[in-house]
Symmetry: D2
Subunit: 339 residues, 4 copies
């Protein structure tokens, strides 16, 4: 932490800040500047947020954090990139480019089985599908719940594809874990800390989606909640942030890929479907994400988007998905990955 003193703050003000810094267990170090003084607080970074309260002292202009607040998610603590095995032979964070595909919601046995076969045939290695749906309207379809989980399990049995599905209530963690290979935390729950803590205590990989207004630093702090409870198998998923632009549902922050690669060892998945909101924009965003260095993609595919219970406009038809996968393999080859 750097504590910037006000222009004209006197010796007493400086002394008080130094005392407070010592009280909190840090060592103060003053730099006397031309127009104002600046104090560094030296010490271990965790818990330093209490120093922020020094901003309330009369002589203090601002308190500037210097270090990143996360630890276990950081490359300083763990240099080697993490790879997460989600099923035998399906490893996220290595040389494989993992593609998770399937409908937004599980709607029926026919729909999920048909889609599972189609995405598998096109080369997807994980099946996605929502059974608990967080919808902004209480009047929209809320998901098939446990019935949907059972249908996903059935699709896995039929195709061999591991399944990723969302959990929205801490209460349902055990139920979802009974069926799922990967537990998904949706964008709206990225700071549902009760849920994150519970996911930190189970032995299942977690796909953590970034929220619509979550900074990359906050995103890594949310991952830290899971990691610090013991579960190290966390995958980060960028799915678009909310901006002023309305041509797309959200703005896909592809630059988050190299930023995250610099700051964390955790694998990075991109969701171009929720980011763009329009099926026609999805393939080029998949290509771009792979070129930028992501470890995997999660893509919405529906056999009949025009009657989908949710997210129809952003779902690819199976034939478009198949075509896209062929092109994707070429981009994957350039970055040294196999599809």
């Amino acid at each position: 932490m750097i504590i910037v003193m006000r222009h004209g703050a006197g010796k007493e003000a400086l002394a008080e800040v130094k005392n407070r810094i010592r009280e909190y267990g840090y060592k103060p170090h003053v730099i006397h500047g031309e127009t104002r003084n600046v104090i560094g607080a030296i010490g271990d970074e965790r818990g330093k947020s209490v120093l922020q309260a020094l901003e309330s002292l009369p002589g203090v202009e601002s308190v500037v954090p210097i270090l990143k607040p996360y630890k276990l998610a950081s490359k300083e603590v763990k240099l080697q990139r993490t790879s997460v095995e989600i099923a035998p032979g399906v490893v996220v964070g290595g040389d494989q480019l993992i593609v998770m595909a399937g409908p937004c919601s599980v709607e029926s046995q026919e729909q999920i089985i048909e889609t599972a076969h189609a995405v598998k045939a096109a080369g997807a290695t994980v099946l996605r599908g929502g059974a608990f749906k967080p919808r902004s309207s209480p009047y929209s379809f809320q998901g098939m719940e446990e019935e949907g989980l059972k249908l996903l399990a059935l699709a896995r049995e039929e195709t061999g594809l591991p399944i990723v599905t969302e959990v929205v209530n801490p209460r349902d963690v055990d139920l979802v874990a009974k069926y799922a290979d990967v537990m998904q935390v949706g964008a709206r729950n990225v700071q549902n800390f009760a849920l994150l803590k519970m996911l930190g205590k189970i032995d299942k990989p977690v796909l953590l989606k970034r929220g619509m207004a979550t900074t990359i630093q906050e995103f890594l702090m949310s991952a830290e909640y899971i990691l610090s409870e013991g579960n190290q198998r966390v995958m980060l998923c960028e799915r678009g942030i909310r901006t002023f632009e309305t041509a797309t549902r959200n703005t896909l922050d592809i630059s988050a890929i190299p930023v995250l690669r610099e700051q964390t060892h955790l694998p990075i998945i991109i969701d171009p479907s929720h980011a763009t909101g329009h099926a026609s924009l999805v393939p080029s965003m998949c290509y771009a994400s792979v070129a930028a260095g992501c470890d995997g993609l999660i893509v919405e595919v529906h056999p009949h988007p025009e009657v989908a219970a949710s997210d129809g406009p952003q779902s690819l038809r199976p034939e478009v998905f198949t075509e896209m996968m062929a092109k994707l393999a070429e981009f994957a080859a350039v970055v040294g990955k196999t599809l």
Copy 2:
């Protein structure tokens, strides 16, 4: 819903869209334009979101919703403004300007009792204080939990002030309801639908905070989740939205007050503390909010902000709060409210 056809879309495309509209139970009405056709789908608005999926059809350019998706929160359904009684004689949404004040977190018996007396003396009518704290870092203080709730209840006993406190986990709704007069939903949980549904089933007023990236329409949809489960005592709280500006913690959207007054009958509370993040900015934002027509304020007050466990920089000292309340009474008088 208005379905805009693509330039050059032919008769078959038009016929297919009309058929789909009828299948969903709406009546299609075509307007033949100069460069493209437009189809209105006539019918009851609830559930119309399924029509959005028509965007997947080849001849469709876009699907434009015309009606607001909420119903119970709307002034079309209930013209008279809602007033919420949170304790005998403490009514939000009428001629009283309600001020809720207290520390961010309950830290100790001494702290909460001292603050409660101070804010009561200054004219506050509700005591705020957090026992379950959603913190972005797992290493930050997470709140005193039930012990904190007990201290709040003790402060109520000593001062007579009703208490508002946050609930973050659906599991804790009954526990928190045992102590609290008002259940607060924090910004990070505005779309924690599992929590909202549970709060819709209890008999306690709810203070629902807008999320950092929640549109006003989504905010009202979140209120709709509570209302549609049966609980009509919902208060909306604007607490700043996330923008590019960093001089303030968030940007307080004061124009949300008149927008909400046009669209909903629910009372409106403003939280200038989390919005601005700096104590020195809080009083003028309180004055502005009252002038703009809010029904109440929720303000962080701490006897010693420089040692606060959380949110020190944005907490008012009791003497500043007292001074502000005197000025606030003058503004309240202009809008015909009493403090």
Copy 3:
């Protein structure tokens, strides 16, 4: 500037940074931390932006500016608040609350004269009206240009109201200055530095609007362009920033008022018309702005908004404006200002 070294950066890297700091004329001061070192660069703040380039050195993690980059706009250089006399007896920045009102565009002699009389009768002290219109579409009405300026001058002659009007091209500065009492710089030109420099050389007050995505710090740097050329009569105008919210045209950042009052001595004007985009939201935002401590308002008024050539939806009818002014006087009284 604080230069944060990378974790593990060695002595040579540190030495190189120290040398570069000295080369740029600053004095390096190292703080040896537990996990990384931090170097303060001590010296006069102007021009320090060159230090930012040190981020390119291999051992450097980031370069953190500590001081504000503006000088003449700052309260550190000039403690006393600036007041700007725009006509005899019309002073912005003192005890008067200045209300500038009139149509978005000058459309005809009848329209501008009728409006000028109406706003004067209601208590406005300055007439606004656009002759050069920066419109996002080349097919929209672009203003009456010099003919419009002449009509504004005529309206001034008839009513005695000084006039504020926009200049969009550096070439037109002299032409507009021939007619206008206050030169307005629109939001789209807030970083049109060629225009700002020219306005810094003339002897007319300038009303500088904040851009849609301009931080408060950048806004003050734009003011600095005018001030540093010699013109000290600068008024700052907040007119809404662009956010994700679409219920309003922009989001009025009322908290900019207290932030600016802490950072600068320049007077502050609020434009609620462009900020909200809807006439029904304007009065409450005027009340809020006055309560928050602004020095003046600029409000769009049109005798027949439904046929206005531009900005009809956000223009007040004269009778609504008159009613609002009466209420505004009550709020002004609370803050010790007269209308």
Copy 4:
């Protein structure tokens, strides 16, 4: 345009709106809905913005534009993609991937000549360099002006590379056009309509940068200003939009590439340097942009970023640029382009 009437608006209100629509030269078409009526205004789309003023009528709830406001920039008017020849054999918008590279600012003859040779050797086909610099601070380096233009011309003579450079003042259009092969409009001037109109009248290609808070629709309207004056050689450049995220200088909106390809025939250039603000993030964003389908890149390269007069942190060293170009060729091959 769709005019949505208020719930409960009567026959007179409807009749008035219909009359106004006819007065403006459009044909009204009413759809009688269950809860409210909706009126389509049928007619040519240009100039329809006047209909927006109908929102001021008492019975009107909102006015919803259906059509895009631009015409010449649209694929409806010109289906075939535009290709812009900026020098013999250097064509943007075809099978060539055009890479423009060079320093942010021209600083000296040695610097620009050295850089020109380096970027040419690496495969760049256009040299970039700023002579007129729009800087947020009046105290920062403002560019070498005409002297800089002469040095750019000298570099062109030595290397054969055509040059792109920025013009910031309408007054300087002829001067810059005397030297430049491509006229660049910076992000801050995207709505400097006086400048755009002048550039519409000259016979030089224009590289138009998107502003920090410019929607794609507004961006195309700015292009329309140039096109409608007669100059058809316009290239669009995405360079990052301003969001809440601070890990990058701006957020590169790569999804703008497919959106623009759907809406316009104009070529698309990406500037990853200003978008990210950090050299280490530039290569992956170049790869992603090419994969997403852009026509070219504009990249900052400086032989000694640590002493650059501007934008040092985001400038690539020549050896990094060279390495990147080799990889870029592989991605270009996948999309069928040559470097």
